[in-house]
């Protein structure tokens, strides 16, 4: 530990402040991050290529793995699009209108984040299984939701909703009505005002929320595995495939699939950071105008 302190690139640097504890708190943060986050993540990257590129490609790009990515990414994308529409609607209604139980519902929007995913998973299955609350009415119509890719989408809509609502809400609230009133006095109808004035203003926040919901959906496990059916090639999500590889003690195979998923997650994280920067600049401009 003493060696690490000596080699840390912060000699006599006080972080531009007279406040004490910069070096100590920074060192603690870096060590904690290193042990809890960086070292374990490095292990995945290294282990994924442990048996060479050939083996990596064989596992990470097998037909079964490709089908699993397709389901995970596809279902997450569909769910994110559904949440783009309904999340915007919910945010709009919660911010702009007053009605009974509004605050209660606003607090409940975070339920998918607070509710353990396994609980959500069995609850959704109880609702959408063939003999379930809703499923029993859909089954005679030939509509199956649980144990099909549709079930995966339903679970991811549940999981992703708060991300869209919570990203859009503050922007809608900050927007004020001045621009809309100007548009109206210039003769624009309500729909045109929404499309030409409001939508462009909230677009960055909406996109950020959708990206956050998509990123969460891609990696989601607990709420999905109960309702998905988990049949290879049709209803098996990528995180489940990692679990299956691990159960067969194929650490390298599990790590290989994890590397693919992590690359996508980090790309998304980068995109979300850029989107948030854009969103903040857009909001700043709106406030000045």
């Amino acid at each position: 530990m003493a060696e690490l302190a000596a080699s840390a690139p912060l000699p006599a640097y006080h972080g531009g402040s007279v406040l004490p504890g910069f070096r100590r708190s920074m060192l603690f943060t870096l060590v904690y991050l290193g042990v809890i986050v960086m070292l374990p993540l490095a292990a995945v990257l290294v282990r994924g290529f442990d048996e060479g590129l050939g083996h990596f490609a064989k596992v990470a790009l097998s037909d079964r793995a490709l089908a699993a990515y397709k389901l995970s990414f596809g279902a997450a994308a569909v769910a994110a699009l559904i949440n783009a529409v309904f999340g915007l609607l919910v945010a709009w209604v919660l911010v702009r209108y007053r009605f009974p139980a509004r605050r209660l519902l606003d607090a409940l929007v975070d339920l998918p984040i607070a509710l353990p995913t396994a609980v959500a998973g069995i609850a959704l299955t109880a609702i959408y299984a063939g003999n379930g609350w809703v499923g029993q009415w859909l089954e005679p119509l030939g509509i199956k939701i649980a144990f099909t890719p549709t079930g995966v989408v339903i679970a991811l809509v549940f999981i992703g909703l708060p991300f869209v609502v919570r990203t859009v809400e503050p922007v809608l609230a900050d927007l004020g009505k001045a621009q809309e009133e100007v548009a109206a006095t210039l003769g624009a109808g309500r729909w045109m005002t929404f499309r030409r004035v409001l939508l462009p203003a909230i677009a960055p926040a909406l996109l950020t929320g959708v990206a956050l919901a998509f990123a969460r959906g891609v990696g989601e496990y607990g709420s999905v595995i109960f309702i998905a059916g988990n049949m290879p090639y049709t209803s098996e999500i990528a995180p489940l495939l990692i679990v299956i590889q691990l159960e067969q003690y194929d650490y390298v195979g599990a790590a290989a699939i994890a590397v693919v998923m992590l690359s996508v997650s980090f790309t998304l994280l980068l995109a979300i950071n850029l989107l948030q920067g854009w969103s903040r600049r857009r909001m700043g401009m709106g406030a000045r105008a």
Binding site: S17, L19, G21, L33, A43, V90, V95, Y97, A123
Partner: protein
């Protein structure tokens, strides 16, 4: 003129009512229906069966483990979150944005991968596996692994709540305290801590809810040994896979109650102390 502005900022009444109805129907279907399903299915066998499922030894062992894991992981991340936020928000240094991204990283990693990374390090075939086996130290398929995975998953909550707030508060108050002769530690406990207490509580609340409810990451490292390495969410899964639905939903209802309690406390914090939480999420209430 004012009547023009009145109608300009709002929709026709029938459009407004339609939008409210549509949003309520969506929220009822997506949020309320699953919540209701948990409690109705849990009580399907009556209160006798409900409490029997909760008081059964394996369920109690799972409850104990869940509380133990949260009691270790949450304080760890509380300290790390405060220290990290202090370093990031109160000082200027190159690479700050990168550090913030690193702290947020666990949120963008799949829960399954959050467990896998520790299996790759400490599992029987992991990097440190043989070394640990020689010394009879069990991490994976034991409690330490569950604590590690939970700590990873819940790491960002406290730090990401504190960083924007402490950044916004600046460091004048602390500088004044120091110039008046207060020690560094005294400045922190008497000046900084009171300024961030509600945000800290908010972060800890969310951190705790996730720590007690985490499923994917814990499932990978636990080994599912009944009565030993089963947390409450894992116990729900085992009961469900054994077709013991009433018991599964009974245990699930306990976790759902925890979630509702978390949301209630969170709402109270936002309404009472919204101005002392990180900016942004309180904008809704300011607009009232």
């Amino acid at each position: 003129m004012s009547s023009v502005f009145q109608s300009a900022g709002s929709e026709m009444p029938w459009v407004r009512r339609g939008l409210i109805a549509l949003a309520l129907a969506f929220l009822a279907l997506v949020l309320l229906l699953p919540l209701a399903a948990v409690f109705v299915e849990a009580l399907r066998g009556g209160f006798g069966a409900y409490f029997e499922a909760l008081l059964e030894p394996d369920a109690l062992a799972a409850l104990r483990l869940t509380l133990t894991v949260a009691a270790i992981a949450v304080p760890l991340n509380l300290v790390a979150g405060v220290v990290g936020a202090w370093a990031i928000a109160k000082f200027e240094f190159p690479g700050k944005q990168w550090l913030i991204t690193l702290i947020d990283l666990p949120f963008s990693v799949s829960p399954v991968i959050s467990g896998l990374i520790y299996v790759l390090l400490y599992g029987a075939h992991g990097w440190f596996g043989p070394w640990l086996a020689e010394r009879d130290i069990e991490i994976i398929f034991a409690v330490p692994g569950i604590v590690l995975a939970t700590t990873f998953v819940t790491f960002p909550f406290v730090a990401r709540e504190l960083i924007p707030l402490m950044h916004e508060q600046g460091r004048e108050a602390e500088e004044v305290a120091l110039s008046l002769g207060a020690s560094g530690w005294r400045t922190f406990t008497r000046v900084t801590l009171p300024n961030i207490r509600w945000a800290l509580l908010y972060g800890v609340l969310l951190c705790n809810a996730r720590a007690m409810g985490e499923f994917g990451a814990v499932s990978v490292v636990s080994g599912h040994i009944r009565g030993e390495t089963n947390t409450l969410p894992l116990h729900v899964e085992i009961l469900y896979n054994e077709y013991n639905f009433v018991a599964a939903f009974a245990v699930a209802s306990l976790l759902a109650l925890l979630a509702l309690l978390t949301l209630a406390l969170k709402a109270v914090l936002e309404w009472r102390h919204g101005d002392q939480l990180a900016a942004g999420r309180v904008a809704l209430d300011r607009a009232d």
